[in-house]
């Protein structure tokens, strides 16, 4: 190994463990490198450490490229008891969050188009206050509307490694349900012209 002879072979893993335990926020590999110096393979050591903790009461997880320790999900019943439930999201808030997460970046008008109803002023504010949603610039169309996207904290909070882990996102995309509606309709009509897809679908099920 290229490591210093004085060091034990597991020093990197110990250092990662200590740093991640002590950190108040999830840590990216770049941040860890700042603390640990030029370690040869931090990504590899993190993966090994995560595997090492996999069966324990505390797990090492990656969320949006940032790593943190958290308690195992099956311990929830023990730990939840005297804790305040995080503020309950309204149905509007929940739908809006899902639309932003699955379609990001989206403008308010696009959110309203999907929901078929105006998005109340408070809805996006609440999501931003929770730290899950952020303004992500403006769309270069007339009116230059603000567009919104999710934050790294969103992934952390909902236990997602990346947006690709969003529940069912692949199926939704394959079904064209994440496309703009005009695109989706064009797609359907093309198929219909080919083999009258709509009727077939009906028969299939």
């Amino acid at each position: 190994m290229s490591m210093d002879a004085r060091e034990e072979p597991d020093d990197l893993s110990r250092a990662l463990e200590a740093a991640l335990f002590a950190a108040t926020e999830p840590m990216s590999i770049a941040q860890l490198r700042q603390i640990l110096g030029d370690a040869p393979d931090i990504a590899g050591a993190l993966a090994a450490l995560a595997a090492d903790y996999a069966g324990r009461g505390v797990n090492l997880v990656e969320r949006g490229g940032r790593w943190h320790f958290q308690t195992a999900p099956d311990m929830a019943h023990l730990l939840r008891r005297d804790r305040q439930e995080p503020r309950k999201l309204s149905r509007a808030g929940m739908e809006t969050l899902a639309i932003i997460a699955y379609h990001e970046p989206v403008s308010r008008a696009e959110i309203e188009a999907i929901r078929g109803v105006q998005v109340g002023k408070g809805t996006i504010d609440v999501l931003m206050e929770a730290g899950w949603v952020r303004p992500a610039g403006r769309r270069e169309v007339p009116g230059r509307p603000l567009i919104y996207a999710t934050t790294p904290d969103f992934l952390t909070h909902f236990g997602l490694e990346s947006r690709r882990d969003l529940p069912g996102i692949d199926d939704l995309r394959a079904a064209g349900l994440l496309d703009p509606i005009d695109l989706a309709i064009d797609g359907l009509f093309e198929r219909e012209e080919g083999d009258s897809a709509l009727e077939n679908e009906g028969e299939d099920a």
Partner: protein, 271 residues
């Protein structure tokens, strides 16, 4: 439950009792939401719902809602009107249909319902995950990572030397010496103009009173001083001044030298 009965009152059942929606308008997030609820009532996959049946359900529901709060119901009524149009279009023979075709409109409605439904399910699945702070927990009392910033002071030898140069330059005793510039003083000019005007009989240009061969800075100084000297002498009544127009040459002569002045006045009168 009181609210339930009230709602039933509001929306008199349009069909069989088990199909009745027993909720008030406040329960829906807009007409699309209501449509979706009705569509799910068809108890088939969203892809296969009958748009025509859905339209009828919706219209029946709206017409059954006797006491609509208008400001709340506007969106619902707009949707009802659109659906009524869609329904009539769908029932027309194909040849009489306009663009976009009612099939496409129906398809759009279909897709919108699917998309809303998908996002609603996704939101629910998202909220049902193991959430940090609810189901899984971060370390309760992390020590925290502290980085003490320490300044690494930097300066070059040039900076050092230049700084010393500045100190020296700034604190060196400052002596201002104004070099002598070639000038003709006013006193000199008065003496010279006064003397010369005495020996000339007729009008003479101011410039002719300057010393010979003065040019450049000294020339300008001599002219300026002579001009002021001329004014001073005029004030004392020792010279007369004449100028034909702005920026024209200035003439002067000793005061009361001869009758040319009267001739000038005559000329002016004739003009």
């Amino acid at each position: 439950m009181a609210g339930r009965e009230e709602a039933q009152d509001l929306f008199a059942p349009p069909r069989a009792a088990e199909d009745v929606l027993t909720l008030s308008f406040d329960s829906w997030e807009g007409p699309l939401d209501l449509l979706l609820t009705l569509a799910r009532g068809q108890k088939v996959d969203l892809k296969q719902i009958s748009i025509l049946a859905l339209v009828e359900q919706y219209l029946a529901f709206i017409s059954g809602a006797k006491a609509l709060k208008l400001e709340l119901a506007a969106d619902y009524l707009v949707m009802a009107a659109w659906l009524a149009y869609l329904k009539s279009a769908l029932l027309l023979p194909k040849a009489m249909q306009e663009e976009p075709s009612p099939e496409e409109l129906a398809l759009r409605l279909h897709l919108r319902l699917q998309r809303l439904s998908a996002m609603r399910d996704a939101g629910a699945r998202l909220l049902g995950r193991d959430r940090l702070g609810r189901d899984v927990f971060a370390r309760g009392a992390p020590e925290g990572l502290r980085v003490d910033k320490k300044a690494l002071w930097q300066a070059s030898l040039y900076d050092l030397v230049a700084a010393y140069g500045q100190v020296k330059a700034r604190t060196a005793p400052v002596v201002h010496i104004v070099s002598r510039r070639p000038v003709m003083s006013l006193d000199e000019a008065i003496v010279r103009v006064g003397r010369l005007v005495g020996v000339r009989l007729d009008w003479a240009r101011l410039e002719s009173f300057l010393p010979d061969g003065v040019v450049g800075a000294l020339g300008r100084s001599a002219l300026a001083s002579s001009f002021v000297a001329m004014l001073e002498l005029a004030r004392q009544g020792r010279v007369d001044i004449r100028q034909e127009g702005m920026f024209a040459p200035i003439f002067l002569r000793a005061s009361g030298a001869d009758g040319v002045e009267a001739g000038d006045m005559l000329e002016e009168a004739e003009a």
